[in-house]
Amino acid sequence: MERSDEALCRDVANREPGAFDLLVERYQERAYRIAWSVVRDREDAKDCAQEAFIRLHDAAGSFAGESKFSTWFYRILVNCCLDHRRRGRGWRRLLVWRDAEDEDQTSDLVERQPAPPDDPGERMDEDQKMSRIWEAVETLSPQQRAAVTLQCREGLATKEIASVLGTSEATVRVHLHRAFATLRRRVGGTP
C-alpha cells in the first residue's frame, strides 16, 4: 500500500532514505504549476518550487499533522512565491508606476461600473476563450492567481486556501470573487 503524504513527511523528518525524493516526485509538478501561477516566470517558478522543497526538508519535523500535508506544503510554497515577488517588487517600483495591487484597486473601480452591453459580434468562440482564459489570469494580483489556481486546478476548498494563504476565509472569498469578476469581464462567461 502506498504511504500517505503525511507518513512520508514524518519519514523525511526522521531522515529516512528515499522519503524526501518520493515526496518531491509526488509534488514537483503541482509545486511548479502553483509557483508559476504566482510568479509567471519559468526560472523563478522553478526556483520557488525548489526553495519550497528545501524548506520542507528542513522543517518536516514541525509538520504537526493537524492539516493535510498538501495544505501545509502549499503554504510553504505560496510563501516562497510571495516572498520572491516582494523581493522583486522593490526593484520594479523603481521602474514602473503601478504594481499589481494598484491594478487590483483599479479593477475594483471598474467592477463598480455597470457592465458594458454584450455585443454578440465581438464575442469570442469557446476555443478562443479557452486559450485566453490563462492569459486573463495573468492580469490578476498574485494572491488572486494563487487562489484561482489552488481552487480550480488543485481543487482546494476556500477554507484550505485560506490556510495556505495565511488569511481568513472571508478574504479568500473576496479574492476569488474579484478574480472571477475580472475574468468574466475580460473573457466573458457563458459560451
Partner: protein, 164 residues
C-alpha cells in the same frame, strides 16, 4: 430584494456554504437575474480554468530534481565545513597557550607568577641560573612540545648527550 451575495456565489457553486447561508443565496437568486447570470458565468469560467491546457512552460523533471539536490547539498555544506573550521583552531590555540604557560613556569619556576619584584632582574637571574635549559634550545625546538606536554616535564633530565 436582499443585497447581492457577491462573494458567496463561488462558495455557493462549490457547495461550501452552510445550509442557512445556502438558503439565503437561493432566495436571492430566485428574484435576482443579475446574480443568476453571474453564477452561470462563474460556473463556466471555473470549468474553463479546470479544463484549459496547462499554461506553465514545460521543464525537465530530472534536471529539476538534480538541481534541487545540488541546492540542498550546498545549503548543508557550509554548516559542516564551518564546524570543522571552528573546532580546529580553538583546541590548537588552547594547547599553544597552555604550552606557553607551562614552558614559562618550567623556565622561571613556580614563583614566576607571583606578583611584585623586578621582572628584568628576575629574568636575568633565571637566565644565569638556568642557562643549561637555554643551552638546550635546539633540542627543545626539535621537540614537538605542542603535541607532547610530557616532554616539558622531562626537560631537565634530558642532557645534550642523550640527544644522539
Amino acid at each position: 430584494m436582499t443585497p447581492h451575495p457577491s462573494d458567496r456565489l463561488l462558495p455557493y457553486l462549490r457547495g461550501e456554504l452552510a445550509a442557512a447561508e445556502r438558503a439565503a443565496v437561493d432566495t436571492h437568486l430566485a428574484v435576482c437575474a443579475e446574480c443568476r447570470d453571474t453564477v452561470r458565468d462563474f460556473a463556466t469560467i471555473a470549468e474553463r480554468l479546470a479544463r484549459a491546457p496547462e499554461p506553465a512552460p514545460p521543464i525537465h523533471w530530472g534536471a529539476f530534481r538534480a538541481q534541487l539536490h545540488e541546492k540542498l547539498d550546498r545549503r548543508q555544506r557550509p554548516v559542516a565545513t564551518g564546524r570543522r573550521w571552528s573546532m580546529g583552531p580553538v583546541p590548537a590555540t588552547l594547547a599553544a597557550g597552555l604550552a606557553a604557560v607551562l614552558l614559562y613556569l618550567g623556565v622561571l619556576g613556580p614563583g614566576a607568577l607571583t606578583p611584585g619584584g623586578n621582572q628584568a632582574s628576575l629574568e636575568g637571574e633565571v637566565l644565569d641560573g638556568r642557562l643549561d635549559v637555554v643551552s638546550q634550545l635546539d633540542l627543545v625546538q626539535n621537540l614537538d612540545l605542542f603535541e607532547d606536554f610530557d616532554a616539558i616535564d622531562r626537560l631537565d633530565p634530558l642532557a645534550p648527550s642523550q640527544e644522539s
